[in-house]
Symmetry: C2
């Protein structure tokens, strides 16, 4: 259960192609891991289409609910890149040509290549703070607790890394994986008892069923490495007691 | 923009491991394509944790907004499988041991292997209609417009296929991809003009930037194959006129 003092985040993935499943999103995995390291709990992700009304509603809904909101996608130069305009509307501000963003694009492009289509990427909501793009020039932006990032994962990641000093988190969230050949139903009862013994370590059970092999990936999450290690040790004992095998154990780095 | 007469759907992916990005979701791509074929517009996806209050709020919010709601995950036998109880709470009904579900599990397991932990998978909200599981016995269920499915993709897919006669859609939604080496900013203006000429064909522009190569995947979506073909032909002419190449063109099956 979410604690009132936790720092939370919501990721809004904007793009018809992600939503149709034709393009596999890669940004959730990147942002999820970076939030863990920063001690920020990514507690929801929404995938929405390139439709202004949907973006406005979702951004306004989420920025009221979560400490931080990250959006990815829709800040390029084409007609379907409507995120900047939609976020401006969500905040009731105008989109203006941002001189700092023009300068960033100007530094990136060879003389003569900063076309009007590219300049569209300098149209940013009034009052926004830019997010530097060390890869391809076009900046993202921050309005209050909303951080607007591009959809291309390598560029998004480089820009997210530049945000570390603007994001206030907590203790890093650690993950430990214990992979076993036991069936979920076999370990269910003991796992529940162990979860009750370690309320501060979140225990998830994820069955796998592929290439004819069944088993469970047991995932422990928490902020106290010693407690997690103790819980994982007890879990290994439980598995052995049920005549199962620990196939793999991945401890926090 | 969404039309008032469109049949829409929302997918709710339930699971901490998907949300943390450690497990890559595969169900969105499956359900997205099946919705296209059924003429159902999957217009939102939400990824939420295994937290009862979050599931209740999200299910109630979404079932009021969309024609259909699909959930994946959280219907197994372990302590973190709370979807059935949470959906029951969303509908203000009790969870009861469903005799039809017990029979289905009984047919699946060898005598003596239907343990109490496994029987938990027959605890279903009162009044729900079961969704047959041809792979591993444990059923999903439907309450009004909400369809509760498991998280394991191969099982989820087999169960979704059994729903065809319960889902009323429209004309199948077709997709055509045109991959070009042109930069997004180069094609932006002509693409916008083409989008205006074909308002019934949704045109998306998705830049790629990998292994040092830049380009755009242009995606056309609509229900009229002839119109999409005409639009894609014109798009190829536009690309040639800008000295670009069509690297690949994938038409609807």
């Amino acid at each position: 259960m979410q604690q009132p003092d936790q720092i939370t985040a919501c990721l809004i993935i904007i793009g018809n192609e992600i939503l149709s499943g034709r393009t596999q999103d890669a940004n959730l995995a990147i942002i999820g891991k970076k939030c863990d390291a920063l001690g920020i709990r990514l507690t929801e992700t929404r995938i929405i289409p390139d439709v202004e009304a949907d973006i406005v509603t979702t951004v306004n809904n989420c920025r009221a609910q979560f400490t931080y909101v990250f959006t990815t996608g829709g800040i390029g130069p084409t007609h379907d890149d409507i995120t900047a305009a939609a976020v401006a509307r969500a905040f009731n501000v105008e989109v203006v040509r941002n001189e700092e963003a023009v300068d960033a694009l100007d530094r990136y492009y060879e003389p003569g290549f900063l076309t009007e289509a590219r300049l569209k990427m300098a149209d940013i909501p009034e009052g926004a703070r830019l997010i530097d793009n060390p890869v391809s020039g076009a900046p993202g932006f921050q309005l209050e607790n909303v951080f607007v990032l591009p959809g291309v994962p390598s560029i998004m990641e480089a820009m997210f890394d530049g945000l570390a000093d603007r994001l206030v988190g907590g203790d890093p969230i650690l993950t430990e994986n214990v992979l076993t050949n036991l069936l979920e139903s076999v370990i269910a009862k003991d796992l529940e008892a162990l979860q009750e013994k370690y309320p501060d370590v979140n225990m998830g059970s994820y069955p796998y069923f592929r290439k004819g092999k069944l088993g469970v990936n047991l995932v422990l999450r928490g902020t106290d490495g010693d407690r997690m290690n103790d819980a994982a040790d007890e879990l290994a004992t439980v598995i052995a007691g049920l005549n199962g095998k620990v196939l793999n154990r991945l401890s926090p780095a």
